[in-house]
Amino acid sequence: MSPGVLAAVQFSWLAVLPLGIVALAAVAVLLAGARAGQDQGEALGWFSAAALAAAALPVLASLGRSRLAFDGTVAVDAYSVYFELVILFASAMTVLISLRYVAEMGLAPGEYYALVLFAALGMMLMAAADDLILIFLGLETMSLAVYALAGFARRQARSAEAALKYFLLGAFSTGFLLYGIALIYGAAGTLKLEPLRAALAAGTDHRTLLLCGVGLVLIGFAFKVAAVPFHMWTPDAYEGAPTPIAGFMAVGVKLASFAAFLRVFGLHLGALAPTWTAVVWVVAALTMTAGNLIALAQQSLKRMLAYSAIAHAGYLLVGMAAGSNEAAGAILYYLLGYAFTNLGAFAVVVALERRGVEHESIADLRGLGARAPGLSAALALLLLSLTGMPPLAGFVGKLYLFKAALDSGLVWLVVIAVLNSVVSAYYYLRVLVAVYMQEGGVAVAPLAARPALLVAVGAAVLGTVLIGVFPAPYVAAAGAALRSALSLSSPGPLALIAR
């Protein structure tokens, strides 16, 4: 082997070191957790969280050394670093939120944490993959683990049913994605994204085949990010799944899906943008409106948060439709704030669980303000951020996103988005009315007795405030991530659409 090849191989293995750490930890937890009782459960959880934190170190170390690894199939750039860090954080938060929950609900701890780690592995692979087949593999690694997690409380009919619905629709969407990938391969002769972009720029004589493929891949991604009309699985899957997993699905799965979606469509299929932006425009409008309107009618907090997650996917699709570099940066920033806020909101729902019974209807929250002032204040702040109240993360995210869309000339789409934000205030505030102005509801165990959960809620609140009040460093990081992905191994950014 020549020294150059050897260096490339070494670099490749270093590039996937974070993935390796997570994979090894998952296998270790799986083996150690086989037949482990609840008393070892907490230790397995802490070990998983520590492994996720350890994996963040090599991710950080690869900053500033942007290159393609494994023969151009894995991208090591600030873009993958950005998403991998947020995914690791979201996974670690999920573990912290789950610690007490897993014990009280009597779930098998070893398999639970191993599946969370495997899902995190798939998500990181999706964020780093620079090859359509590798994106497919990452997506499946993530999805298979999350299907199993959704049905983890398998003795509950609700959980099993949620898993079945999620699985069938998820596998259905995988079929679309895969067939689309096959057609793109036929039209362009490659599935690596960098050569694919070059091939598209050079033009292809199989344009019909290519457009069919792109359309099918778009449907596949629309399913994964829960865009209308491919959102039907979302509320059922979130409501039936164990609550920490619902949060993981709302944040982790969405982060990874948008990471791959944006890399493929925004960065590499930019040359085809005129063919798909109109579709994304319509889907964004439908997704925001349907998500918000149906959320108005919900009685279950989990189900309401599911529809709220659909609505937020709609806001993010506004950025996809805008298609400028600015909008892509706004999507990255928005996802960061969304991760903190939504994980926090689901953590609060987890905190309402008591003695193995979940309390997740809005009626259960009545009078919470008097019984648990700290928890209520946290919930209020997180819901206000989801509404888009200044100066919290949700507000600044929407501001950047909508401004980028305006700059791209999508005035009507922004009008629809702003109207939707107003509608959404109603159902978020309805929860706060129940918390602070009504009587009744159920008792909650004090948060101080559950330190891991306390830390998770605290981190979510702190993040939501910090990202909103001091947005500059996070916006800069998002911008740097994007520039790095654009400049990687190509002479100049030709992709994001020049309108």
């Binding site: 199993a148 009919a157 069938l168």
Partner: protein, 100 residues
């Protein structure tokens, strides 16, 4: 020699059969079988298009798809068993605990 477009047409037909199967059948196992038909349609397209391009890549992708499909089948059947133990049915129309 059969023209590559014939293979592609056959795979499109298979894919269509799979999609229609998912949409009209009500038994979860049959829905899942239809999804497998969709995946195999993609496999056929990969092989045909790879052969047309004179590259072995298309066939290599099929290996990945096959193994992923097997893992998916294992997870899916496990979920089906869990549902059946709870509900004694795998008919999609009867799974109505979760409804808006």
């Amino acid at each position: 020699m059969v023209a590559p477009s014939y293979y592609l047409a056959l795979s499109a037909l298979l894919f269509g059969i799979g999609v229609v199967g998912v949409l009209v059948r009500r038994n979860a196992i049959v829905i899942f079988m239809s999804i497998e038909v969709m995946l195999n349609a993609a496999n056929l397209a990969f092989v045909a298009l790879g052969a047309e391009a004179g590259s072995v890549e298309g066939q290599a992708f099929v290996f990945f798809v096959l193994t992923v499909a097997a893992a998916e089948a294992a997870v899916g059947l496990a979920i089906l068993i869990a549902v059946f133990r709870n509900r004694e049915t795998v008919n999609a129309d009867e799974l109505t605990l979760l409804r808006w």
